[in-house]
Symmetry: C2
Subunit: 688 residues, 2 copies
Amino acid sequence: MSSEANGRHPTGNPGESPRREVQPDLVRREEVRGRHPGDRVVRIPRHPLFRQVAPGTLLPRRRAVEPQGGWGRLTWRAKRFLIGEPISTDREVFERLTKLKALAVLSSDALSSVAYSVEATMRILIAAGVGALTLTLPLTLVIVLLLVIVATSYQQTIRAYPSGGGSYIVAHENLGVMPGLAAGGALLVGYVLTAAVSIAAGVDALISAFPELESADLALAAGAIFLMTLMNMRGVRESGTIFAAPTYVFLVSIFGMLGLGLWRVHAGGGIDYVPVDAPRFPAQEPLAWFLILSAFSKGCSAMTGTEAISNAVPAFRPPESRNARITLMVMAGLLGTMVIGIAYLTSQIGILPDPDEHVTVLSELTRLVVGDGWYFYLVQFATALILFLAANTSYTGFPWLLNVMARDRYVPHWFGLRGDRLAFSFGIVTLSLFSIALIVAFSGRTESLLSLYAIGVFAAFTLSQSGMTVHWLRGREKGWRRSIAVNGLGAVSTGLATVVIGITKFGEGAWLVIMVVPALMGIFILVHRHYAAVSRQMEEYVSPVSSAERPLALVTVAAANPVTREALRFAKAIGAEVIAVHVATDAPDAGRIKQRWAEVGEEVPLVTIESPYRLLIPPLVAYVSALREMAPDRPLLVVLPELVPRHWWEQLLHNQTALRLKAALLFQKGVMVVNMPYHLVGQAKKGA
Amino acid sequence: MSSEANGRHPTGNPGESPRREVQPDLVRREEVRGRHPGDRVVRIPRHPLFRQVAPGTLLPRRRAVEPQGGWGRLTWRAKRFLIGEPISTDREVFERLTKLKALAVLSSDALSSVAYSVEATMRILIAAGVGALTLTLPLTLVIVLLLVIVATSYQQTIRAYPSGGGSYIVAHENLGVMPGLAAGGALLVGYVLTAAVSIAAGVDALISAFPELESADLALAAGAIFLMTLMNMRGVRESGTIFAAPTYVFLVSIFGMLGLGLWRVHAGGGIDYVPVDAPRFPAQEPLAWFLILSAFSKGCSAMTGTEAISNAVPAFRPPESRNARITLMVMAGLLGTMVIGIAYLTSQIGILPDPDEHVTVLSELTRLVVGDGWYFYLVQFATALILFLAANTSYTGFPWLLNVMARDRYVPHWFGLRGDRLAFSFGIVTLSLFSIALIVAFSGRTESLLSLYAIGVFAAFTLSQSGMTVHWLRGREKGWRRSIAVNGLGAVSTGLATVVIGITKFGEGAWLVIMVVPALMGIFILVHRHYAAVSRQMEEYVSPVSSAERPLALVTVAAANPVTREALRFAKAIGAEVIAVHVATDAPDAGRIKQRWAEVGEEVPLVTIESPYRLLIPPLVAYVSALREMAPDRPLLVVLPELVPRHWWEQLLHNQTALRLKAALLFQKGVMVVNMPYHLVGQAKKGA
């Protein structure tokens, strides 16, 4: 191969090496036409591993980047099997979401709340006795109204921020850094909670169909999260494809059930229902405002998905903004209808929530309407599935938000890296870890999580709405008054909701969210400061030494043998001056080295450092810093010969001096460390 | 400081750097008078951290090797507090043992067996009913006879091997490698078992004095081992000082007790004793030979300490050999007397072992002889202590043996390294780990360990005795016939004992030892082969590239900024040719770099490798191997700029590309990797 390359590139540039003429010239310079005048590019001889796509630009062939054997190959195969073949960056646009898929991926959260929001309201009200349940429907209507307001104002947000207008972006841009971070933090918490709650609720739904599964609930949750992770690692489009079906099955089956229910209630001669055991619901407290408000807050959990769409606008097929807006409206419409429907039927029939929480109100309703047949189980399954999918909304929103914040350098930049299926892998994994932690911590009890749920999301709503209001005030584009009216209304109402939730839910754990968010903001700022410092300092970087000067080379000598000789030769080739250093932890060794030095020493002066306490690293480090002090502006290059054994266990037979020394020298300014690996025979195969 | 150094060393040698004249010449060559003609040495300007003790030989001052602050300082302090100030190598001889201390350190194992060997014999015999106990005394006499034989023959071994004549050395030298390794393996196992058994027995003794401690037995054992480890880390002499007292207290108290006992039995009108509950000892089996032999084998455990002295001869004060021999004889005498004494009194009084094993026979005897007063507790304590100290014998023998075997490269060489208190730290720690593991595995039950105990040691005895016989046969020095007689007798008798033990104890776990030893031998040989291969290959080492040639330098570029510029400058200073490589995982980044290249590129050609799947490492590795293929005999130097942050947590904000890339390149032959660390501000303090 190499000779062939030689043949193709006979030219050679002068160098001190005798055998230069027989070497291919690896670097042939030529001006590129136009672009950046004066910049130069390399053309290396053609090599089977690479294709030259432009002057100085190489494209590695597939087998250049795939591990070719052994363990690496195995893991690669496993990964491909689990998440599929890698997708190249330029195919990103084909990975976008159609409206149909988007509704499945991004709205499943909102839609799924159908499964519990009404019940949540009822469970609060019933504390004031069964009679209080008459308030369920009115409260639901209020909530739906709120939903409509929020949806409409997000319409405007999306129009104004076609490249993704999540609360973080809007608040950050219009209200300033801190509100932005607050919104971001609140949303991140919200997403984690959403994922946790949805998984837990999904498991509940399953259990209300198959009570015998109750014992395995945590296992089920963990399994679901693992599945969710894999799916999303495969990329948003693919998970959309997979998750679309159940969403639509859910929609159809619920609407079918509601339709049938309405017919039976009004035309079909009514549905008779014997309240399980009303006596078990004594009125514990009067029907005070506080109770009503907290019932309202619980119900608000129905709305937590609304944010997702406006966050992930760039995930839509073009025209992104328009498609996003349509999807949002459809979602709101469907959600509102279903919630009202359920609330209406429930109160018509007079269903009471199951005190033992074995059976959800929705499944009770379904059972009454459609009986015990296949349809009932269909609804059960669809519900379970969509509740799992609700988690999937977080799996889209959470990584997207982190990606945006990573671009602004508020979170570690690897949250902005796309995995080899174009998914934001780090965000996905992080979300999974947090939600499994939460579920375990709350031992899978949806109720207790729900209380943590809404506050963060509504805070984010408020911030984004107020942000938009400011936006219009500044912009004063055509129709800004109307826009302000809409977003202003949104801001006020969501603001009120936030306050209500904060007060009513404080005791139940909202305080936790209220503590966590500021903590997160603190972290964001620290991270930002760090990155800012790094990039500023990299721009202002002044080397502690004069890099252009050939360094003083220090060769560490463990024994006098040909390996040492090669190291010394190398050091002489690159260093202005060379010093060989041996730390004498063992006198006889030191003697042997001195004796053989004339033979292998390559004329390099040998410094012996005695180590009365048999320490190896500290004396070397001290010597290095001494040299640095005496030649402050000259680079110092430490050459470390390092054995590379055949098998891992052989490493145990050698003390990792090279490694330890490198770690010790890392903090010395102006000191560079070069490894000279020498391979044991057998290594050859592995080697290049 | 550096300017001062400059002042002191005005001379300078010519170099390409403009500011060379203001630099001190770090390397001034001068012929050394005589010694190795033609070799050269360095004299670096005087520096406060070092003292020049000879031309080219520096002695670091204390503060050069002590960590000066932060965590390192803290751990250093803790270590000093626990194991004391470091001891310099040249003080080794002052760390040797006097005869008095040697008896404490090296004989405590043998002496301690007084506490259980007689009882062990009785517990076997009693299986044939109480009557069988009449055999206790005769058996003990046989055992003591064996002891005398072994001691005498070891006398000769020590005389023949003044530099330490453990079974491993003798067998290895006279019988060949495999017997040597067998002896070594057997002894190592023996030492571990000794440590474990002794600690366990010590705990038993404590418990028989304070039964309420019974629950905490494992904790006590662990504590004892930890203490033992610390003590021995402090060095053999110091542990000798600490451990001498209890040994002598034990000797005196036991002899006192025996004397008093003899007087009371024969002159003092006898000691009346009501056997606890003889009925609980029904004759389960006839008094067959097998039973007697296994009783004998148990008793042999009394002898397991004999080896230690001849192993550690170099640990004695000069004249080492003579002192060792005297110590050995004294030890044998004391041991024999005590064992016989105990056996005699026990059978005279007719003491039965406690079926519940709460009270040891020795403590029962003591109680009967001296009553329940302070003396009784004194003996108890002394016994407990000496049993712990018995473990200490292993703590001397085990590391010594490993050290010897490390010199012959049968075990990892770091077993031959002395810690900063001149102790063989690795051996000590290894022993502790194994014995705690054993104790836990056998949940501290001495009995079950005892069965594993003697076989290995006796095998070693046999091997060393036969080795000596061969030694004399070869040498034919004056008196060789007598010597052969002695060692031959020793070989035969210990050989017989080994067989007996092997047969009688096989079922009880001796088989384990018989399995483990060959396994160890296998490991020894593997290790030896590896080291042999390494040193051979280092001698025959031929570099895959022509090291003397200036390398092709490859600079990895993550961004276009001054840091990159410095890296490029450095690369140009040391490399024959320089190529800059950027892996384009993100198109905009790549664009920015191309744009700024003219500014920071230092005229170095830039290769952009597109990475459609956003992989970073594989394309670089592929490119490196491509370059290697095209210039097989030219060294390739990869320059990796690496950020060194202020705080550990900041590391999390950067993906460890440098580290991962280095690991990936380690297996490419002829590729060297140099780190160019650039430090965030604040690092300055930490740095040199």
